[in-house]
């Protein structure tokens, strides 16, 4: 009786397993595409900020002063186009033999730089990209009277634009001049390390477009990453270390004249 019942079922089961095998194979082949398609949503749910500590490396020797980062930042983050509002900008340093140093940044370097006038007496000249240093010890967060600017658990300093009262204390407090007053919302604003991109697994816009790889972005908790390599194998400095702000933007090949 049992045997009779089992016998017709056996081939059916085989057929199913055959089908299932095909289905599984299709899944295995399609998985990367599916993962790719849902990466945006999928990354949001299990994103755990405690696993990350974001930082940026800037190799001054590689910066060509093309200003593509400034352009990309303005477009990605809808920063006002007027030449007073920058989340990132490029400075040109011109050190003369007499000792004086001239720094300029016409419109943040967004449209390049005019030629240096006269090579006589010129000692050295170079570009330095600047942005918010996302300090571990941020003076801007300390002075905010309402808690509208804050450090996230993954080490990024952000502004809560709906809660900011526009008192400008943080703009005064930032020793790097990295903040500006958004004239449209009348709130403080600054670089977010493109937090909205980073939590989705993308690079900040300025790093994405840097044509020479002068900017390196990554996670300090991960050793095998471009930033891990950058911090291991290059001699790095931070800006204004004496202020004890503990910046998370690291500069390689930085000149002593840079402030």
């Amino acid at each position: 009786m049992n045997e009779k019942r089992l016998q017709p079922e056996a081939p059916v089961e085989e057929e199913i397993s055959e089908e299932r095998r095909a289905f599984l194979r299709a899944c295995a082949l399609g998985a990367p595409f599916l993962l790719g398609a849902f990466r945006g949503e999928a990354a949001e749910a299990p994103y755990n900020p405690h696993e990350h500590l974001y930082a940026m490396g800037v190799d001054v020797e590689r910066c060509i002063g093309c200003g593509r980062c400034v352009e990309a930042c303005k477009r990605e983050n809808d920063v006002p186009r007027e030449p007073y509002y920058f989340r990132t900008w490029v400075e040109r340093y011109v050190v003369m033999t007499q000792g004086e140093t001239a720094v300029d940044s016409p419109n943040g370097g967004i449209a390049g730089f005019p030629a240096v006038g006269g090579e006589r007496g010129l000692l050295r000249t170079f570009f330095v990209p600047k942005l918010c240093n996302h300090c571990a010890n941020p003076p801007c967060v300390q002075v905010c009277p309402v808690g509208a600017t804050f450090s996230t658990e993954d080490g990024v300093v952000l502004v809560d634009k709906d809660y900011c009262i526009g008192c400008r204390y943080c703009i005064q407090a930032c020793p790097y001049g990295a903040r500006y007053f958004d004239p449209r919302s009348r709130t403080a604003d600054k670089c977010t390390f493109c937090y909205h991109r980073v939590v989705r697994g993308l690079l900040p816009a300025c790093v994405e477009v840097c044509p020479t790889g002068a900017r390196v972005f990554g996670d300090l908790r991960q050793r095998s990453s471009p930033l891990g390599r950058f911090t291991r194998l290059t001699k790095i400095q931070v800006l204004k270390p004496h202020l004890n702000t503990e910046p998370k933007v690291f500069y390689a090949n930085l000149d002593g004249e840079v402030r």
Partner: protein, 242 residues
Amino acid sequence: MPQQLTRVLIVFVVLVSALVVARHFLIPKTFGEKGHYRTAGLEAVVKQPIHYAGREACTPCHPEIVETHRKARHQTVACEVCHGPAAAHTEAPTENRLPAPRERGYCPLCHGYDLSRPTGFPQIDPVAHNPLKACISCHNPHQPEPPHVPEECRACHGQIARTKAVSPHVLLPCTRCHNTPVQHKITPRTVLPDKPRTREFCGSCHAEGAPSPKEIRRVDLQTHGGRYLCWQCHYPHSPELD
């Protein structure tokens, strides 16, 4: 319970409940969940729309160009550097077409001669370099090889050539000091020209008894400069005289 204690308790309860009510209305929702800030403020930043799609986004539709570009010298230059933010284009490719900069002013943003740029970065003088001709008529931006093998060193080493042109070494050809294999012009980074290694090389013109024209400056190789090699003090492409 003494009467005065009851009164104090009532006042205390009223004050505490006033504090609780005030906190309820004054402290915004989601404040203090993760730290001294509103979680909603963090979420507002996360919700910001993305404009730059990232370099992987181009591959599925433009595999040939991406493949060419991946092997070319512009491999580190992301597509969105020149073509602009592409997130809208990836969602509706035909409605949101991306611009391609074709005007002559665009390429010099990176490749125009600028003293402040790092040495060795390929630069041209936008005024003198084939005036009025569009860059893309000779160079393919996805694979920007020079249109023909350069005849002179200055085609690539413009910064050094310009420096040398106003220096006392202006009359020396590059090959006087650098033995340059022909292959260097074709695969410049794999076959490199050599450089002088000894003080005697500079001494072949600048030593006291050297068979060179009288007006060339002379030094005593035995005493001048101590343990240093010539180019540790003098930059050969623009030798400092003082």
